[in-house]
Amino acid sequence: MSGGISGRALAPTRVEQAEGWRAPGQDAGWLNPVRERFLLSLLVRKELRVRYRGSALGMLWSYVKPAVQFIVFYIALGVFLQLQRDTPAYAVYLFSGIVVVNLFGEVFGNATRSITGNQALVTKIHLPGELFPWASMIVALVHFLPQLLVLVVGALLFGWLPSATSALAFVLGIVILLVFTMGLGLLTAALNAAFRDIENFVDLIVMVATWLSPVLYRITMVEEAIGGTVWWWLYQLNPLTIVVELFHVAFWRYAPDVVEGVAGDPSLAAPGEPFGLWWAGLLIAVAVFVAGTVVFERTKRRFAQDL
């Protein structure tokens, strides 16, 4: 495609602007989701309705999937591989990681498909394109809430009580996760409009994500295996690792069983407690978000003709 598409050449001059002229298809860019809240809320409602059309269980499916996942992992890893023997409250440990990876997978996957999935709209009506990936994120958050509720109830059953540290760790974790994943999602949504291979690639990343962050096993086991190498640093700098560890701090680390266990087994404590490399996670997340937004803004004018 001969790339003569530059926003500046199309824009009206200042004199013309004063006369009320504007170019078609101009919008508030990355601020659109805030400006167009009404339309965004309607798109979210549409997604939620469409998702469970004709299904008897409806929203309950967002409990069923993580529940099955949890049971399978718990039996295979906790019981058969005996991870629960050395990890007190392993169920809470496992589930707090699973909810992170699930939210990541859902936001990332849905955002990637959001432009191609709304082809009918994108190719026919001018709409602020950012609304589609943002709507996907909000839908994913709606599905995340029941899982979070189950996690909190589970943690309370293990004697965990909320504290300032856990609240802060949770907020840090969710902010890093959403900023990071939206950045990736904007990037892949834009690329997927041109090359449909991207969505398969994203599915692959989501599948691998569960294993490349300390969801199933403890981070100290990774340190024992590859500590001191560059891989260990990369592993630690993975924003998902950082978020999963923050969730462990929020829901698992200060449960009575674990606090008791740390006395006998110092390896239960993660490096850099309580918030670890949160600043690195936030920095990477913001950088990815900026990169994703820039790519999205630069390519969105071509969505209608690429689809």
Binding site: S2, A9, L10, R22, L42, R49, A120, L121, K124, I125
Partner: protein, 256 residues
């Protein structure tokens, strides 16, 4: 269905001097990429083969539309009518030249593009109103009028997938004509519904003309356009071949 010519009202449009749309030397090129895959991209890069053929959908199109005008765009299939309309509405962007607008635009580009079969009629009215740029308050205020226009009051809370195609089009058209834009872009929608409904649509268009709205209409219904429009532009392979009096424009297209 071809509208009964008797039912087409005479144009009520009154052109004024105020410019509303400027299309300045717009050129649009499309690349015909055969499919969307990275594999193809990589292979063509390795073989140094040209990946795509291009064709010129719009070639130096230049015209101005004034407030109150109803401009028809005619031409055979593939002449660039819809591409031009999409460029004006901001869905596509010109490669060369530029488009300037004054005021709010609403496109009736394919009625029902934003409709979702799994939502009820009511939800679709809100979703589409918002897609076409209305605020919540505006839709609330117009809701009853829209439903009355579409004549499907009793089915408004039924999912749209159970609608007949006529009901669907009526509701979609009703939303679109109630968005009150300054500039209306209409793509081949005047042939929807049965005859009474068509007459209603055309009356509505006449009302909009009387209210001084600017309209750009694409259609293959030449006789109807001749009566509705104050001016017609003939496109041929992306170029403007005629711009002016409707009767002459239609003769030009028929001769070509």
């Amino acid at each position: 269905m071809t509208p009964n010519l008797e039912s087409v009202p005479e144009s009520a449009a009154v052109p004024t001097a105020r410019e509303m749309v400027r299309v300045e030397h717009v050129t649009k090129q499309f690349s015909l990429r055969h499919n969307h895959s990275l594999k193809e991209l990589v292979f063509s890069a390795l073989q140094r083969k040209k990946l795509s053929d291009t064709f010129l959908a719009l070639d130096d199109v230049d015209f101005t539309v004034h407030a109150g005008e109803t401009v028809g765009l005619i031409g055979f299939n593939g002449s660039g009518k819809s591409t031009l309309l999409k460029t004006i509405s901001g869905v596509l962007f010109p490669d060369k030249g530029r488009v300037l607008l004054r005021g709010r635009v609403a496109g009736l580009i394919e009625v029902g593009a934003g409709f979702h079969p799994d939502l009820s009629g009511r939800e679709n009215v809100y979703l589409n109103g918002a897609i076409l740029g209305m605020t919540r308050a505006q839709i609330d205020a117009k809701f009853d009028e829209i439903v009355a226009f579409s004549e499907i009051e009793e089915f408004i809370d039924t999912d749209v997938k159970y609608y007949s195609s006529g009901m669907f089009l009526r509701l979609a058209f009703a939303v679109a004509v109630h968005t009150e834009p300054d500039i209306f872009l209409v793509d081949e929608i005047l042939s929807v519904g049965d005859e009474p409904f068509q007459r209603k649509c055309l009356d509505r268009i006449r009302e909009l003309q009387e209210a001084g709205r600017t309209m750009i209409v694409v259609s293959h219904e030449l006789e109807m356009l001749e009566r509705l429009c104050t001016r017609i532009i003939v496109l041929q392979k992306g170029r403007t071949v005629f711009d002016g009096d409707p009767t002459t424009a239609i003769a030009t297209l028929r001769d070509s």
